[in-house]
Symmetry: C2
Subunit: 217 residues, 2 copies
């Protein structure tokens, strides 16, 4: 039985693939796991039926037989543990790839989400424009270090892994902010992720939700 994931019925990013279901779609495509996508509206997400799947009323969720999961990082990890292609076989390399998964979500993503949300949360406030450079500098603190560590390597630690998948998705949230242009190696890294056939299939599937054309997801 194919796993079922949830995604926005109408993503606020209008099909740019920035919502967190894209991470799970990409992971499933990397390992060649067929899956179903169930679309949920914003009002459904906050109702008790969906909250039984996701305590925080968000997407994505993952249902597979008796198992229900939430948190995109945990879902990607679950997929990576059960299929070849997203985590190295070598135990130490595997542990390091998992460290990059946590780094993407715990260290790099939070200041990016802060910057992304502030126009909606505080766009009307008097301080809005004065705070923007502070928020962008906090992103640069992380990107400076990430750029140095990546150097001229293709991926963060050897072969492409679930750590790269999550890091690429986190960095993609900077689209339209110009900050990533200051880091040519990180821009190339994101482009390298986007060029993967599995990424392209996942992107097309989530875009199809927005355009209304049938998904192959």
């Amino acid at each position: 039985m194919s796993p079922i994931i949830t995604a926005f019925e109408r993503s606020p990013d209008r099909g740019r693939g920035l919502a967190r279901d894209m991470r799970v779609r990409w992971a499933l495509e990397e390992v060649g796991q067929p899956h179903e996508v169930r679309l949920v509206s914003f009002s459904e997400m906050k109702q008790s039926a969906h909250r039984r799947l996701h305590p925080f009323g968000q997407i994505p969720t993952y249902e597979e037989g008796d198992l229900t999961l939430f948190e995109s990082g945990a879902i990607v990890f679950h997929i990576a543990e059960r299929h070849a292609g997203l985590l190295p076989n070598d135990a130490n390399a595997r542990a390091r790839a998992i460290a990059w998964m946590f780094a993407a979500l715990s260290t790099v993503e939070p200041p990016i989400v802060e910057r992304e949300q502030v126009p909606y949360a505080e766009g009307e406030k008097s301080w809005y424009k004065e705070r923007l450079p502070l928020l962008e500098d906090r992103i640069r603190v992380r990107l400076d270090d990430l750029s140095i560590r990546l150097g001229d390597a293709d991926w963060l630690d050897g072969e492409f892994s679930a750590g790269d998948l999550l890091m690429v998705m986190v960095l993609r949230r900077l689209e339209g902010m110009n900050i990533l242009d200051e880091y040519p190696n990180l821009s190339a890294y994101v482009a390298r992720g986007e060029a993967r056939p599995a990424y392209k299939r996942a992107f097309a599937a989530q875009l199809a939700v927005f355009t209304g054309k049938p998904s192959n997801g």
Copy 2:
């Protein structure tokens, strides 16, 4: 050979156990794994020798033979995978415990860290006091959901797990803010974590760094 972790030589929390080494110390105590603690100063953390261990120049790190890890979530997971006591044996329950690890660090912690940092980052700004209630309401959005999910259970999903360990540590960052008092079941949950013998040993060891008395770590 015992693993070596790093911690602040002088923690900014003055021994309250809020720095991220406490998570790793607690996990190591839960599984009964002896370990060494190497203290690093703020200037050492930003130098290249430490950055080889931690690309973002932070603590904790974890060294064990050929393996070097960073990110407290990844280190706790590594410990939990290799020793009994922090993840359930049942595959589905294990996956759900891992989901709570990610939920603690990706969903619950970011607004708490925002609130924690703002006095240092923006305490002198004209908007500082007006923004505080906004930041605290963002924390409540998460705690409302978490409190409902926990209900009157002891732990988030069955037995105590690495997911609870990280969630308790994340909630402890609210100490001194009074918000947690609004959620009696979450306050009791944190107290339940703090009452564990392994927690107490880890807390005493990190406090000893601040008081200057020898650690049993």
